[in-house]
Symmetry: C2
Subunit: 405 residues, 2 copies
């Protein structure tokens, strides 16, 4: 049987009018495909409101109780959408994550899907019903409700698509796909037609937040194509799938950027084995994610160690950094908040002559100073001053002719 | 183990301040009793709001989907209350009806409890946690969510108290107990200290809506004492349990009244066997509940058949009544909307000389005309004009000295 899995995000589902619009779209899908599974998020700001209410009652609410509470957001959307379909004459049934057979670990608020046993979904599909599954949630073997954490509903959708052997997984959102650059910065940014999983992962890591990496990783692991498209328009969106044929010339796919970045430098660190572990171990334990790391050439046995963290983590990181600096015998800690990250993504670009050069020339032509550089197989990242980030993204978008995509 | 089961209604749970007040009360209970189970309703008007939202999307929403939707009201309250307890240092865990082992029939929106398998509740109690159970909901064997219909959370509480062999079941509400008459009509109405199950059932049927008959029936079937008391005060409230010792003199316990009443008369009905079935069968099929039935003496083979229905059902009943009148060959149908029902309740009062007489004398003394009379083992009901109902209740309350209870 050929199954279509669609996922609708919270911004597409807030309020009666939007629920009806989504129902109308599903009804159309139903005309061309018999078996439709829909994964839904909580409506609008419901999740944030529930979190705020919880924190009014308890500074540190137990995560099991938070899961019980937050899962209701999606559990409300699912039957409402089923009703909107029913009112259109389209038979539909809503299922919780538990009912849809989504089994997870017991790590509340960031549970991992361990298995999907989609018997009820298959049964309901075979009776001709559209199956609406509450996203973001699952259940342990003890039938405790869990939530999957960030990117949870996308993860539910892709995992269900895999379990149901769907042709592809459609992610409906409030933008027309993954853009060649942020459309708020670049007027002629275009949705990228085709993107490899690894390219999508790099775009996401570099600040393109439309798709959470977690769902993309599942897609990659099981070769499930993921189409990201607008819930409000009719464009084809972005199809994320395995790389195009090898003879295709590698090229730049998109420019991502991120402004929640701060640069930290440990000054005069003794250059000896084990120093990286001594620095990054404690940061990891404090849940401070370190991004780009640059170690300068050593002079007389000492070096400066620079790395970026999310600026929003910096206050939390500061005491840990001070302790680390004392422990490793560094001369001090410097933190620079006024920076941003610009990343050029495309399969094979690092091995392609001329791409790196064109990036650096383009930024130089705009008189933009590059503070740090980090490269990966399919990306080049530059740390620059934050007040130049829009200029950098526009210039790079133009330089690689991404408006012609 | 000695378990206390407490139930808190929606008006006691709306908003952060009330949740905290309930948590404080539970924390106090926890100091005197180790094992506390709390059943909660949806907060404030949540259920009504969800119903309204559903009807905006679908005129006739499938009842399975309504149950999925409505059950979230209670599922939100339970973890929030657990958090409010956690913030006070009282360990607590929330359970859905399904997790608490409440198994029901598949009759969505009015499911019946078939069994309670409270293993998880017992396990959690033995770890020292207060167990918060989402009321009003259960699950079928297929793990479909069901709701119990009217009086659902009270029913959950009493049924759980039975399953856990609790000492008694405490129902916390926004009034101080079952009153000797409606305190809005009678200033010196008092909470009744002790009430038999049958007395409570008669009071409920006669208009005292604090407790739903369904939960009382379970209490009676399993001899589970039910205490109704205020969530905001410290009074002992009303204890509903098996009758007091036989040597106690029967006496009047309370005066209930109901104004949603209309009187229907089928005029000139041929007086032959099977006529009652021909009249009340179709009404029952149309879900019109008939209350008091009076058949006048037959004259020349014809009689007038009068009965009361809820006035709010009258419009729906009208076409059915017209059809019945034609079918049985009656002369016509009369409907009288301006009436009310006043009921005097007390174990054994019908067999006690003087009680009936005093009721009729009291109403006569107030120049209140009695339109119909109906009696039961432990109650006497009079149908009177609606504009005299407050006078009737006050006079009867005074006549039986209920302010001295």
């Amino acid at each position: 049987m050929s199954v279509v899995v669609q996922k609708y995000g919270g911004s597409s589902l807030g309020g009666v009018a939007r629920l009806n619009a989504v129902a109308a779209r599903i009804a159309l899908t139903r005309q061309r495909t018999e078996r439709v599974v829909v994964v839904v998020s909580a409506m609008g700001d419901t999740t944030d409101e529930l979190i705020a209410l919880a924190h009014q009652l308890d500074d540190d609410p137990p995560s099991r109780e938070m899961d019980m509470l937050l899962s209701t957001g999606e559990t409300v959307t699912a039957p409402l959408l089923a009703m909107a379909l029913h009112a259109r004459g389209v038979p539909a049934v809503s299922l919780t994550g538990m009912q849809a057979g989504i089994r997870t670990s017991g790590a509340h608020r960031s549970a991992r899907i361990t298995d999907i046993v989609p018997q009820r979904v298959i049964e309901q599909l075979s009776t001709g019903r559209v199956v609406i599954v509450a996203g973001f949630q699952g259940a342990t073997e003890q039938l405790d409700v869990t939530t999957l954490g960030r990117g949870g509903s996308d993860t539910t959708a892709v995992a269900l698509a895999v379990a149901l052997q769907a042709h592809e997984c459609e992610i409906y959102t409030d933008v027309a796909g993954i853009h060649s650059a942020d459309p708020r910065l670049v007027a002629d940014a275009r949705p990228i037609g085709l993107l490899g999983y690894d390219e999508m992962l790099e775009m996401a890591a570099a600040g393109a937040t439309v798709m959470h990496p977690r769902a993309v990783e599942i897609g990659e692991a099981y070769s499930m194509p993921i189409r990201v498209r607008s819930a409000f328009g009719d464009g084809p969106g972005t199809l994320i799938r395995r790389h195009q044929p090898m003879e295709d010339r590698p090229k730049v796919r998109g420019i991502a950027h991120e402004t929640d970045v701060a640069k930290v430098t440990l000054l005069g660190v003794p250059d000896r084995p084990g120093i990286a572990a001594a620095v990054f171990g404690p940061l990891g334990e404090s849940h401070v994610n370190v991004d780009i790391i640059v170690q300068n050439v050593s002079h007389s046995g000492h070096t400066d160690l620079s790395f970026t963290v999310a600026e929003s983590d910096l206050n939390r990181a500061q005491p840990v950094l001070d302790r680390i600096a004392a422990d490793v015998g560094a001369d001090g800690v410097d933190a620079d908040r006024g920076i941003a990250k610009v990343t050029v993504v495309g399969a094979g670009i690092l091995g392609t002559p001329g791409v790196c050069a064109r990036i650096f020339e383009t930024l130089a032509g705009e008189l933009i100073n590059i503070r740090m550089i980090s490269t990966g197989e399919i990306r080049v990242t530059c740390i620059i001053d934050r007040d130049r980030v829009a200029d950098a993204v526009r210039a790079l978008h133009r330089a690689f002719e991404l408006e012609l995509l």
